[in-house]
Amino acid sequence: MLSGEETVEGRVESHLSVISARKNLNAFLSVFNDEALMSARDVDRKIKNGSAGPLAGMVIAVKDVLCMTGKITTCGSKMLQNFESIYDATVIRKLKEADAVFIGKTNMDEFAMGSSGENSAYGATKHPIDETRVPGGSSSGSCVAVAAGMSTASLGTDTGGSIRQPAGLCGIVGLKPTYGRVSRYGLVAFASSFDQIGPFTNSVRDAAAILQVIAGKDENDSTSADIPVPDYASKMNRSVNGLKIGLPKEYFSDALNPEIRSVLQAKIDALKKAGAKIVEVSLPNSEYTVSTYYILATAEASSNLARYDGARYGYRSPHSTDLQSMYVRSRSEGFGDEVKRRIMLGTYVLSSGYYDAYYRKAQQVRRLIQNDFVNAFKEVDCLLTPISPTSAFKLGEKMDDPLQMYLNDIYTVSANLAGIPGISIPAGTDKNGLPVGVQLLGKQFDEATILKVGDFLETVN
């Protein structure tokens, strides 16, 4: 991972200097200056004596929704402004053991709710190429950290597209593993049956190296899967000959932005040329994905966020006079608008009298959407789709129209509903020079295939 005379310490120093030079991007909420340099020196020593772990040289930024002992974990919220975590998330422990160095914690949409990076109590994150634009969200800071050279890699979380969408908008690699592939222990939950942790990197190979370390069954997470983790690096041979790649026709309708379509077409042509078979497939329930997602994810969120009540930790309103007012005021003052909107929506869909019409119905539709993918994967090895309807949009452009903002997730939420892996690969740029990405979706627990295809696509210009 290190070239020539490069040291980990040197790499950390250079990342730190970019962090300070590009402070205005607002990518970091906390930076571990001295600590990062100290661990870098430790790793350099290990490299010298040959005892370094597989991620030695990897300098990682962490989305501020993952717990690290003794570190503030704000989740981008005023609610957890000074909240210090008392334990390490499983992914953090595993990365430490593999000799990765942590450089800081990154800005994000509050409690991972948002598609632009603007819903942070600590200000919007900005796009590294055009600071008047959004970098995407919710893992905005983690994405910008890698895109702008503030870290070698970063960790994000993806509940409805929060890794893949910003990676696409910023032109880097973003991987959402299969639900259950990576332990969620220590990931502050937004929607438990959707959340997955994954890496942002500059290359598919780096993403594979990180997944290799963080994947696997964890006794602390009952939903983590006890399914063997293959050696990803050995699968990436830059050959796609004979692979069957599906194009879901619902994702390539006339509504698709023509610029994005032409960028994707170039990649599709390259795959064909290299011997892949391109097949049209159908995901008939695609039109229900966004509404299904927003019903189920908000329902889970309304319950997951109940613990922030001012009683034990986090923000407590100084204006509270009794128990009821402590709850109401702490939550009204501590949460931002989008979080409150989703808590109310989720509370509503779970309420007696509405549960069957919304939550239960959405669960049934989720099953249908999962079946769509099961059927599609009977015919093809992976799917290729757009990531988002447009390239990076202007800051503030969609803040007053939550529905437009939600529709940003139209190509990404299906992977979370179906629990399948997805990866975002840089594919080109639009006429404004803004990045456009391509999404690959794989079968459950088959990250290997999308990594392999993604690795091939990186070689195509």
Partner: protein, 485 residues
């Protein structure tokens, strides 16, 4: 006929049994009662951001055992659900419970009625859940929270509304209490809250098939309170209807000091719990092999044991009932009875007598459990053997019993140390009797004149000089021969 007799009550109980697992239901923290506040805690039971629950399998095992003991169907898959509500002693803002898919369903418990018949009470469901913490309200103006109890495993046992009186309800509760204690899954301590009971109560005119409006009664922390509270509530509802009022659905809290049930503030009960399946936990899968292995670990339950005590030990039904009240006591009896030598086998009733009077008295006086009784069942059985063998008399046995209480020695050792061996040497006894008869010529004349009840006097005098060690059977025989001969 009183107006009350024209009504019948319809009662269903929800019983919460705190399981005696070593660790909590979703984390590895200890469940020990009485530790310093907020000491048995970890990030998981504190509900810290980012934590996840991991199910303690022992809880499932216990649920299966109780389900089998109450004749329930065990669900091949069951699902944990979140019950959402805000309270300071509920760190996550929801309680993990089971809702639409509980682990056990459709069982029953048979209770004995006073007229000797039995009545079947349906068990609707049994589900697993976590307990909340404790709020302590009476400290100045602050409310203090102790979360030690958070995550303590509970089984909630929901009955059908099959009970028709407070007595039946308390019989049912007693039966559930006895069952969980026999299974060894709950210590049954109602004062400490290990077993809690809520009641749903409505009344209707006899013959009516429609249910009346029910009220829920909470906070009854003893068998006595359950009976008294339910009686109170039945009367309250009947009086209300007779006065032309209507029963409203509400939750009432029993106040044991004032002997009244007062309604909770309506705000406290206006809950929509928004149950939904907990996405952090996978469905609980129980296969037939698991059920079969749990079945093997179910001990003989009180009902069967009572029957066996009557049949194989020839004990009166009353004795069998008392001895099987608690599993430990029944086992105490069986161990003691097991000590009887072959020729003394018919002395089971003697063992039962000693336990029902003396052992239980000691336990009550000292307020101790069977396990802590200073006299082991082995020693008690050995003592009954000594009586049956004629080695000691029943009277001497009392002395030996008291000695065992303090010294915990084997009864034989006590008899030897104190020289309490019964004298069964006919010659020695005859010598003493001759002396007594010579000492009381008047009494002898009166006896021979027809005052036969003076036998007792002569036996007593003989025993006195023999310091209670004379064999009473021999004394009687020899005396009779001398007096009548």
């Amino acid at each position: 006929m009183s107006v009350y007799d024209t009504y019948e009550a319809v009662i269903g109980l929800e019983v919460h049994a705190q399981l005696s697992t070593k660790t909590k239901i979703f984390c590895g923290c200890s469940t020990t009662f009485g530790n310093a506040p907020n000491s048995n805690v970890c990030p998981v039971c504190l509900g810290m951001p980012g934590v996840l629950p991991v199910l303690n399998k022992q809880v499932v095992e216990y649920a299966i055992r109780l389900g089998l003991a109450t004749h329930c169907a065990i669900s091949p898959t069951s699902v944990f659900a979140r019950k959402n509500y805000f309270y300071p002693d509920l760190p996550k803002g929801y309680q993990i419970s089971q809702y639409e898919e509980p682990i056990c369903r459709h069982g029953f418990v048979d209770i004995d009625l006073e007229d000797g018949s039995t009545k079947r009470i349906g068990v609707t469901r049994i589900h697993m859940e976590e307990d909340a913490g404790k709020s302590i309200h009476d400290m100045d103006t602050d409310t203090l929270v102790d979360v030690n109890r958070c995550g303590t495993p509970l089984l909630e046992i929901v009955s059908e509304p099959d009970m028709r009186s407070a007595k039946e309800a308390s019989q049912y509760l007693h039966s559930v209490w006895q069952t969980v204690k026999y299974l060894g899954i709950c210590d049954g301590n109602m004062e400490e809250g290990s077993l809690r009971c809520d009641a749903n109560i409505s009344v209707r005119l006899k013959g009516e098939t429609k249910l009346g409006t029910k009220a829920e009664l909470k906070n009854m922390n003893s068998f006595r309170n359950v009976e008294r509270a339910i009686e109170y509530e039945i009367k309250r509802q009947i009086d209300l209807i007779e006065e032309g009022g209507t029963v409203v659905q509400q939750t009432l809290l029993w106040n044991a000091e004032k002997n009244i049930a007062a309604p909770m503030r309506s705000k406290e009960e206006a809950h929509d719990y928004r149950y939904f399946p907990d996405p952090d936990l996978v469905p609980v899968v129980v296969d037939n092999a698991w059920i079969a292995s749990a079945q093997k670990l179910i001990p003989e339950l009180p009902k069967e044991r009572r029957k066996r005590f009557v049949e194989s030990f020839k004990l009166p039904a009353y004795d069998a009932g008392v001895l099987t009240q608690e599993r430990e006591l029944a086992e105490y009896f069986e161990s003691a009875a097991g000590q009887l030598s072959k020729k003394n086998e018919e002395n089971h009733k003697t063992v039962s007598n000693w336990i029902m009077t003396d052992v239980l008295r000691v336990m009550n006086d000292k307020k101790i459990a069977v396990a802590d009784c200073p006299i082991t069942p082995e020693h008690l059985g050995a003592m009954v053997n000594l009586i049956a063998d004629g080695t000691i008399s029943g009277k001497i046995a009392k002395e030996v019993f008291d000695d065992m209480l303090t010294t915990k020695e084997h009864p034989k050792a006590i008899v030897e140390r104190k020289g309490l061996l019964q004298i069964s040497d006919a010659g020695a006894i005859e010598k003493e009797i001759d002396l007594i008869l010579a000492k009381f010529p008047n009494e002898m004349t009166r006896y021979r004149g027809g005052e036969v009840k003076l036998t007792g006097f002569f036996v007593g005098e003989t025993m006195k000089v023999m310091k209670g060690k004379g064999n009473p059977k021999l004394i009687n025989e020899i005396l009779k021969k001398k007096l009548d001969g």
